[in-house]
């Protein structure tokens, strides 16, 4: 009987799966020909972008996917967009019950651990690393919430996608 424990697994999450609330957003071509993006732009609003982390889960403890980190590729093309990440872990509700949301702690990479670093006009590869990774149960899933605060300005941010890095154990 085989056994798999691979610590080098990754899953791409295309921008078409990003869920946007508030603000103005669109599916567009990226700055580099051949890329696609989810574009969020509007003045005086805070766009909320949820990135669903689509990993296989398992109902047996200690099996399936252990989410380790998430990388987000984005570009700020017009200044003054305040980008803040929150990781939400959603435990699905049983029938007739609401879902329960918790916020696992994480750290930003050294190039994005201040607001000024996350917000400058540039291409970004931002990595958030979960403080205590855990195997994903079949009644759980993660949403990476990205708050794009454009209050008082006309900022423009384009998301090219995300990549979830995880350990797979089967």
């Amino acid at each position: 009987m085989g056994y798999i424990h691979d610590t080098h697994m990754s899953q791409v999450i295309p921008p078409t799966l990003f869920h946007c609330v508030t603000g103005t957003w669109s599916i567009a071509a990226g700055q580099v020909a051949g890329t696609i993006v989810k574009r969020v732009n509007d003045a005086n609003q805070t766009g909320i972008v949820n990135v669903p982390i689509i990993l296989p889960s398992n109902s047996v403890a200690g099996k399936g996917s252990k989410l380790v980190s998430i990388e987000v590729d984005y570009e700020i093309t017009v200044a003054a967009v305040v980008v803040t990440a929150t990781l939400n872990k959603v435990t699905r509700g049983a029938d007739t019950a609401v879902a329960v949301v918790s916020a696992p702690t994480f750290t930003y990479d050294a190039g994005h651990d201040t607001a000024a670093e996350r917000d400058d006009v540039d291409q970004h590869l931002m990595t958030i690393t979960i403080t205590t990774p855990a195997y994903l149960d079949n009644d759980e899933y993660y949403l990476l919430e990205l708050s794009c605060d454009q209050a008082g300005d006309g900022g423009l941010i384009e998301f090219l996608g995300a990549v979830a890095n995880y350990t797979l154990r089967l």
Partner: protein, 121 residues
Amino acid sequence: MINIPIMLPSNSQYAKGAYLKSVEVDYELLVAGATSITLSMNKVTRGADTAVAVVASVAGSQDLAAGVAAASQEQHKITWTLTTPVWIDNDQEFLLVMTAVCGAAVTIDLLGAVANFTLRL
């Protein structure tokens, strides 16, 4: 132009993860036939922080002729096959690009796509 993201697991180690071989697209042309339906594929190598992504076209071919079999008013299952299958690295993304040249009356219903791959873990 329709971009179809290929959502397969990747791996940072060489020759592990998903080995992409082909992609099938299910669609239907309604009301009238199209002028042509052409598939192509882009490999997007993600940029490092502060660097842009780099896009390269992937060689391959489709099993239905663009302006003939793929363009008729009909249900279609078209397969695009990579000339050289590839192991997907963790800094790469693949987009299948479907270019539809149509007259004004044509409606395209896209039912979905299937990526065929070898998985090695």
